[in-house]
């Protein structure tokens, strides 16, 4: 079916113009060789058609891709997630980690010609985000925001908060025009269908069922940028059709789940196409098998370890994700600066799995069955179905009989959120900082029945809670690092979740399209620097 797999999970942001420099910084794929060409039309796939294109009001992946071309944040983040300037030309963080001062560019105009000032920043952080942005709401609730003058903004925190500096990208904190939104009903503002931002591309047209059309912002504050004249985001509902459109050159860019992984090798071999997996560092998606530890036998850590040993992670990587994945060792993505591989690992070993089950007293009955459990697979299409079937098959081989439970997205989400499930598969972005995207799945405080993407497994360990809390407000980076290493060791040893793969979403683009992926935000960069090579 392949229709719904793209729904999910967040992505990334913006921008990518180095401070004080107008030259492109070709960091990732799409490194420049020939002369950049001014002009040209970029056609990109986008699926499914987004519900809206205002970040915050919607946070779907298909919302973000076009929206990040029109809206910008104060900062963006490189492949190592270090901040780079966008709307803020410079910034300082006080020694005690309590005061953040941003100096804004003074040459930025909204698409309607109004100047961009500190009033817009204050409005965005204190009114817009608290009202609609489900993910950033708690982050900015920690800060008091003031504007000493038109081009300076100061955030004051009550206690240090590690992830704060990684929260100012166009997805986490997209700057919104106060003169259009202030005092209005944000969700029903007419500008939601004809957005006014500061980005290098302006909204032109949204033809339902066909495309979103963006055109070059001629008044963009960087000289001679953007290169491209226009971008079409085309809605093509079928993945085979999207691959064909790429092959034929009808579209020049596809990313995330748009191309079936089985197709990617074939596309990569074509001379007119290039593939990169960089650019999802900000999102850092990890897929896992979640076991409801409120129920037997999942409450026994030996059972969870047995499950890990019974799964051949290499098979999953190579035959289900066709090599476009990596094997995770624990809760933190290997691209994160806080990652450590110094943890307990679980190489494929059916005998060990059986031994652990024996030790628990789960011995095989006459049919060789030790335990019967249900698995609710992620209903995002055939790849995830095959993953469920593989899990059923593998666990069956060590005597755990798995029944697959079918569902659609609504049923799946509802059952997981309400803890009404044995095991489930999912994937989640772990985001730019463990405090933002990792802690939520493991800390006791975040067990919120009825709410998706919380700690739905029911895992609870006071030491883990303490470490996550301390690390979030620890101003010293080295100490933060130590705490996160410690927490990874504990969580990996207790198999809080059975991690399956780190997803490596391929971005497939025409070989002559450059600067597509130039920082940690990948295809959610603002594309001011993207260009076609002149022939």
């Amino acid at each position: 079916m392949g229709l719904y797999r793209t729904m999910a999970i967040a992505a990334v942001t913006l921008a990518g113009v180095m401070a004080g420099s107008l030259s492109p910084h070709p960091l990732g794929a799409g490194t420049a060789h020939a002369e950049p060409m001014q002009g040209g039309t970029l056609n990109s796939t986008l699926w499914p058609e987004p519900p809206g294109i205002i970040i915050g009001v919607n946070l779907n992946a298909p919302t973000l891709l076009p929206a990040t071309k029109m809206f910008e944040g104060l900062l963006t983040y490189d492949f190592n997630l270090s901040p780079e300037p966008v709307l803020a030309k410079s910034w300082e963080v006080s020694e005690d980690g309590l005061t953040y001062t941003f100096h804004l560019r003074d040459d930025v105009k909204w698409h309607d010609g109004e100047p961009f000032t500190s009033e817009d920043v204050v409005y965005t952080l204190t009114e817009f985000i608290p009202e609609v942005h489900a993910r950033s709401r708690p982050t900015f609730a920690r800060a008091e925001v003031t504007a000493p003058d038109d081009y300076t903004v100061v955030l004051t925190l009550k206690e240090p908060y590690g992830p704060m500096i990684r929260s100012f990208d166009a997805i986490g904190a997209p700057m919104m025009p106060a003169h259009i939104y202030k005092g209005t009903d944000i969700r029903n503002n007419p500008a939601n269908r004809a957005p006014v931002g500061t980005g290098p591309f302006k909204f032109s047209e949204w033809k339902s069922g066909e495309y979103i059309h963006l055109v070059k912002n001629d008044d963009y504050y960087l000289e001679n940028r953007p290169y491209l004249d226009e971008i079409y985001y085309r809605f093509i509902p079928d993945s085979a059709s999207r691959a064909l459109a790429l092959e034929l050159g009808q579209v020049q860019l596809a990313t995330q789940n748009d191309i079936e992984l089985v197709d990617v090798d074939r596309l990569e071999a074509m001379p007119n196409l290039e593939v990169t997996t960089k650019g999802w560092e900000w999102g850092a998606p990890i897929s896992w098998l979640e076991m409801n530890v409120r129920r037997e036998p999942f409450d026994d850590v030996r059972f969870r370890k047995a499950v890990m040993y019974a799964l051949d992670h290499e098979f999953i990587r190579d035959n289900i994700f066709f090599g476009w994945a990596a094997i995770p060792t624990g809760p933190i993505h290997s691209s994160s600066p806080f990652y450590t591989d110094d943890v307990v690992t679980y190489p494929y070993d059916q005998e060990k799995a059986k031994a652990l089950l024996d030790e628990m007293g789960l011995t095989p009955d006459a049919n060789g069955v030790r335990a019967k459990i249900g698995l609710l697979g992620l209903p995002y299409g055939e790849l995830w179905d095959r993953l469920s079937q593989y899990i059923k098959q593998s666990l069956g081989e060590v005597g755990i009989e798995v029944t697959l439970e079918a569902s659609d997205v609504a049923g799946w989400g509802s059952r997981i959120a309400n803890w009404d499930v044995d095991m489930s598969t999912t994937y989640l972005t772990t985001l730019s900082d463990p405090a933002l995207g990792v802690a939520r799945s493991y800390i006791t405080e975040n067990q919120k029945q009825g709410v998706l993407f919380t700690n739905t497994s029911g895992y609870s360990n006071p030491e883990v809670d303490r470490l996550f809390a301390a690390a979030a407000s620890e101003p010293n980076p080295d100490k933060r690092m130590e705490m996160y290493h410690e927490v990874q060791k504990i969580i990996a040893d207790e198999v809080a979740l059975a991690w399956l793969v780190e997803l490596q979403w391929p971005t497939v683009h025409s070989a002559n399209l450059k600067n597509v992926v130039r920082n940690g935000l990948g295809p959610n960069d603002n594309f001011a620097e993207a260009y076609f090579e002149s022939e």
């Binding site: 079916m1 392949g2 993945s239 085979a240 079936e260 089985v262 197709d263 074939r266 098979f315 035959n319 289900i320 697979g377 055939e382 179905d385 095959r386 469920s388 079937q389 593989y390 059923k392 098959q393 029944t403 697959l404 439970e405 079918a406 569902s407 659609d408 049923g411």
Partner: protein
């Protein structure tokens, strides 16, 4: 002419019967005889038909032939179960409406018409999704959208028979109404209903395949429609994944239709060729 002679006169029906017989044997005996597991990965994914995999392997390196053989059981099972449930609903509604007439008939005809007004396939999708995909929900959904034509046929038959003398006589002699319906009228109305029921099996198999193709099959049971749907994204590269399970569906449905026509010729000589189209 005897039933069998009339049936055997239809050569298509004989061919259909032979094919159907083989498929039924496969459905019954494959899981009993074979120790193979249709879900188990046996080799390289997407291997074309050849020595290792006669009909190729799928995206997880599973054998397509094994899948088709095991799929026969679920496809036939769903087809037959749905037709039986559908016939139970349809014959009950039709019999009651046709036998009693009057306001009962009015109400039941309105209900039947209402169900015929609902776009049936979308309705089936909706039912399966709401009841969550599984054997039961698929059977229920197919039965719910296929019973109205059976009810109409049953009603027409019962209305005609109700006025026949032997029924009138039974009524006058005080036999209870349910007893008359089941003992007197039904046996006389059964021939066209059997033909229609057999064709409903074919419709049910087609509907099940379409539901599975759209991803609404039972995830724990391999079926032909599921095999095609699951491989849709690679059907350009791996034609064998869609072509062979499709052939299995076509042969089965074709065979059932042929047998249905033969039954029609044999049971309802006066209706030759009539019931083929619903």
């Amino acid at each position: 002419m005897s039933f069998f002679r009339r049936f055997a006169q239809n050569r298509g029906a004989l061919v259909g019967l032979a094919v159907l017989f083989v498929i039924v044997l496969i459905a019954i005996f494959t899981p009993m005889v074979s120790s193979a597991d249709p879900w188990k990965s046996l080799g390289r994914p997407l291997t074309p038909p050849g020595a290792q995999f006669p009909l190729g392997s799928d995206m997880l390196g599973r054998d397509v032939l094994t899948g088709i053989l095991f799929g026969a059981r679920i496809s036939l099972l769903i087809g037959i179960l749905s037709a039986v449930v559908s016939a139970l609903i349809g014959v009950t509604v039709g019999a009651v409406a046709g036998f009693f007439g009057g306001w009962v008939d009015d109400v039941l005809v309105r209900i039947t018409e209402f169900f015929q007004t609902i776009p049936s396939f979308i309705f089936a999708i909706l039912l399966v999704a709401i009841l969550t995909p599984g054997l039961t929900s698929i059977v229920v959904a197919i039965a719910v959208v296929t019973w109205p034509p059976i009810a109409r046929l049953a009603r027409a038959e019962f209305m005609t028979l109700r006025r026949r003398e032997f029924v009138e006589a039974a009524v006058l002699s005080g036999v209870s109404q349910p007893r008359i319906i089941v003992r007197e009228v039904l046996p006389n109305a059964i021939s066209p209903l059997i033909v229609m029921g057999s064709l409903t099996v074919a419709t049910a198999i087609l509907t099940e395949s379409a539901l599975s193709f759209l991803g609404l099959g039972d995830p724990n049971r391999i079926s032909w429609g599921y095999m095609i749907g699951a491989s849709r994204t690679v059907f350009r590269q791996a034609w064998w994944l869609s072509v062979f399970p499709g052939l299995a569906i076509v042969s089965t449905v074709l065979a059932i239709n042929l047998v249905g026509e033969g039954l029609n010729d044999a049971l309802n000589p006066h209706l030759k060729g009539r019931v083929g189209v619903q």
